[in-house]
Amino acid sequence: MKLRPVSLAALALFAGMSTHAIAQERRTYIVQLAGEPAASYAGGVEGYAATRPTDGARFNYQNDTVQAYVNYLEGKQRSVAAIVANAPVIASYTTVLNGMALSLTEAEVMQLRASPLVADIQADEPRQLLTTTTSKFLGLSAPGGLWSQTVGGNLNKGENIIIGVIDGGIWPENPAFADRVDGNGVPTHDLNGTQVYGAPAGWAGACVPGTGFSPATHCNNKLIGARYFNTGFKANQPVLHWTDFADSPRDSSAGGPAGNSGHGGHGSHTSSTAGGNSLNPAIVSGIAMGDASGMAPRARLAMYKVCWTFPNPAATDGTGSQNTCYTSDSVSAIDKAVQDGVHVLNYSISGSQTSVNDPVEQAFLKAANAGVFVAASAGNSGPAQAVAHISPWLTTVAASTHDRFNQGDVNLGNGAKYSGASLNVTPLGSSPMIRAEDAGMGGGNANLCFSSSPPAGQVLLDPAKVAGKIVICTRGTNARVDKSFAVAQAGGVGMVMADNGSGLVAEAHSVPTVHVSAADGAAIKTYAMGASPTGAISAFYAGSVPAPVMASFSSRGPNAGDANMLKPDLTAPGVDIIAAVTADLGMADKDAVANGTLTPPAQFASYQGTSMSSPHVAGIGALLRQAHPTWSPAAIKSALMTTTTTTLNDGQPGLANGLLPWAQGTGHIVPNKATDPGLVFDNGPTDWIRYQCKVNAAAVTTPAPNNCATLGAIDETYNVNIPSITVGAVTGTTTVTRKVKNVGGSTATYTPTIVAPTGFTAVVAPASLTLADGAVGTFTVKLTSAGAADNTWGYGSLTWSDGTHNVKIPVTARAGKAITAPTLLTGTTTSGTRLVTVKTGFAGKMTANKGGMVPVTLGAQVALAPAAMTSAGLKTACTNGNDLANVKVYNVAIPAGTIAARFALRDADVGTAGDDNDMGMLTPDGTWIYSGNDGSNEGVEIASPAAGNYKVCVVAYGGAASMTHKLSSWVVGAGAPAGLNVMLPGQVFAAGTATVGFAWSGLGANGRYVGGAQFKDLGGVVQATTLVHVDTGAAPLSEPAKDLSPKALAKLD
């Protein structure tokens, strides 16, 4: 007889089985196998030699050794595929990822998880594209600049370097991609022109035919490769939008009628920015803008198209279509690009903000191991903390302005003159002026100048008041170009747009327009309130402005995945970038291009986005690769980062300020210095293995001697040898180690100058480093907390100088809490256990408060009318606190002692499938916490919130005409319902670790629960909080990242 005759094994089994219906629906998953892919394989499998290229060499896919190993990997992949024989294989990867994309049911996922051959399984996710005279701004064309230097008899313009661009395809008709020039040296596709490019050496890639794309016509010795990848897209999206070209590397069209138009241009823009020909005359909206050039104008280009447009009537930008890039296709593209032999890759596509285990990030690691330099976009979700592509092997690029400024003037009747941004080509003579505030229908306020459907508090412009006048409108809420359209519609003849602090933008408008600063706008408005105000608007002319300034849209750090590693890495021009795009074609013209009967014209446009800054860095990376063929990708990244200059103050508040490393990384690139940096902070495959052994050990499947056991994990991620020092938690004293390599060409002695981060002391050792050419030296920086405020970052810098080279890196530190515990634990079972490690900075008894598990409270259904809004827009609406047609404001009082407050939305709780709701939470101290995924799986939460009134705001971003949602909420107090138990060690130690146990039981099936624990120091002060989410319902919700495209950036103001 037993007192409780229940087997633990049986308990666990039933807990797992009873709550899950095994879903039969198939979804695409990326299945990674144990064992290195070919680009990164350094030996260890018996009978198969290493296939990773040596330093400076290129990966050769056709090599017998590589083919033998690839066959071996394919055999393993067949074994895995055989486990789930019914599952369609979407793609197979061997070069930068060892794995497959498979269409699997949940049951098959579980079957595969059990196989020792399988290392990891992740859902395929949709990602978005992020969206000249910058070569001059960057000094490339200056006397003595990089372009004037020679390498082996060639100018340093990217000769014989191949840049692969993973993007939305290419529009080959632009002269940026021609391999001939006319008598004036201007690039041309005319076959009578002179061929100026030979065949590329060592190129194993191909140009593949497709709809409207013929290799013989469209590829040449400049555009040497063009491939497309759409199996992942097709598995998820059955229908291609009419503006796209089926099974083709051709970039889709951007044209079409309102409500049914496309998204093309992005791939052509990024390609021409990185490596387009120079002397390419650019015309934007009929206006000659001078010659455009890529950063590496002599580089070869290869397009890998992975982004496709599909019809989506609910698309939030009103185009009726959406462009998306599936991770499985991106991995296929990276795999192929490395096989083809690219030197550099550009990836202007959104990515994970928290994980280096994302399949795309892992594929880029293997590409880096094969010597490929990769530039990626930081993201367009700024000024929020949302930096993407956080892997240290990538160069993650933020966006800032450059100095070209197309200027126009407003000359007022009182003789005052104000200058602003303008692309106006038709000067407007003296005309009467009116404030839009005074020009509304029925006396209402029309200051935002809506062309239709004005929101609450706004009315349309009254034609009777506006006809024949210059209207002063205010920036914000609706698109900038919608305002000039509203003025034209009401019979106005010109517009002065007063800025709202976001920065001036020169663009084509419906009436002559000058965009002036907020201060100038206020002055002009004051004048316009007087008697008989008049004004005149000039044609635009070339001016210049102080630059660079961080773009407000550029996603900021700190790195949400690892507080010990700076991201973004650096910044480059990404505002008002003029480059090649696709033609805006109607359906008939598009069909004519598709069947080869129409050769479309070259077209240019000005885009902004981190999509635009990333290819600047890819192109300059190509120049450095040409100048220094033996440099590793990490050395190129280091050279770029240590030679930057700071941007100018953008005036953003708090951690979003552009002067901080969270916005600009180490700073703005200075290519002419980057070619001779003096010292580099290098990293290679072994360093990345040791890093992954620390943060992502499951992904390290290499056999000895390249495994974690032999190499060991790096002790702390702040010791990864990157050219920035960031320590997220200095407990007492923290010593950071770096290695530098002398690439200056001769023996040099460097001495350090340290500016300690505020609140810390910093000591550098040794006091000098004398290094022979090629020698590596090690130094340490000892950071000691000296009155650093709790949870506050201090900023400093370290510069090593030999009198010629100044090697500067940011040093950023935050005082550590006395207790560090995981922020979140998750589960799906009605009972569960979690054992976690906590770090402590004191000796004695740690105590805790616990609460939960609290079941969800589902609010009443609320209906809203959709209208897109950015994070900043929703914050403003939330601060105002009034419900709007598209915004619901929930006021929540949080009592003292609360452990956690969480608010969420689910796709399951919205009125129409596909509705896109976003949400944010405003705390009493004004902190803004935002969740803006695609779809409606959103969540915001705060651990150990201060008592007070919180506002939770939901915006109907886009979807059905009437959108409904129900708010899920949980407020976990210390007296909240039981079910969660937390057990602590008897004693903890200074600079120690200990295990804490969490266990919950008795939860209901199909429920969503939140609990948590607050850990307290000897004084009873809460030092860390761990939240527990348990969802006993279906599989975890997918939360696909949404990042604003260049088009959406313009659309959303």
Binding site: M1, K2, L3, R4, P5, V6, S7, L8, A9, A12, G16, C693, K694, A697, V700, P703, A704, N707, C708, A709, G712, A713, D715, P822, L825, G827, G832, T833, R834, L835, V836, T837, K845, N981, M983, L984, P985, G986, Q987, V988, F989, G992, T993, A994, T995, V996, G997, A999
Partner: protein, 241 residues
Amino acid sequence: MKKMLKTALAVAALAGMGAAQSAVLTFDGAIDTTFAPFAPLLGHLDEIQTDGFWVDMYNTKAGAAAGDLVGSLVNGADKAFTCAGLVCPSNNTSNYLVALNDGLPDIGRLDGKTFQVTQFDASFVAASGDVVLPTALLLRVEGYSATALVFQQDFYLPGPVSGAYNFATYALSAANAAIPIVDIAFRGYACTTATTCTRSIDKAQFALDNITTAVPEASTWMMMGLGLAAFGAFARRRNTA
């Protein structure tokens, strides 16, 4: 007092079941957690009962209080979740016992009679993020009679191999395996240098499974004269670190 009550109840429950034969503690069968209220988490002074044995968990540090976390039962099939912030062994998908935060497991027969231990499976368990040496843990196995320590044997558990820790089987010496005992304690010392191992900083953590026991032969039994030890007479010697 608490211990006496527990064991008295258990013995009462066992009455009529016949004498326990040699058994392997797998932690896979029925586990009585009456005296481990927060099981699978195990605190100081908690006891679980399985396969005819009791397993007591102790915090051996000064100031120990009931409920201090010193161990847990882990379902190896659910390892990735249970060991969310620990590195548990890779090669065991059954249930096993983990000693945490320098915790000490002590094991004896529910009927209070003597037994022998021939071998057991063990693995080091690492705090996530810790750098672990090639020799991770000194595991000192201590056999007790009703009144005294009767043998002590040291085992060395290795650090990670390919980033993972694995259970391995450790056999007691033939001499030690022949000695009848009334309880056996597993005392871990985490190795912080090549020559120093300690159980004072919460880092001695290890997993135990398949503890194989035998029943002493009658001759040995009679000769040693230990079979009649009263179950209330256990010394609290394992409280001395």
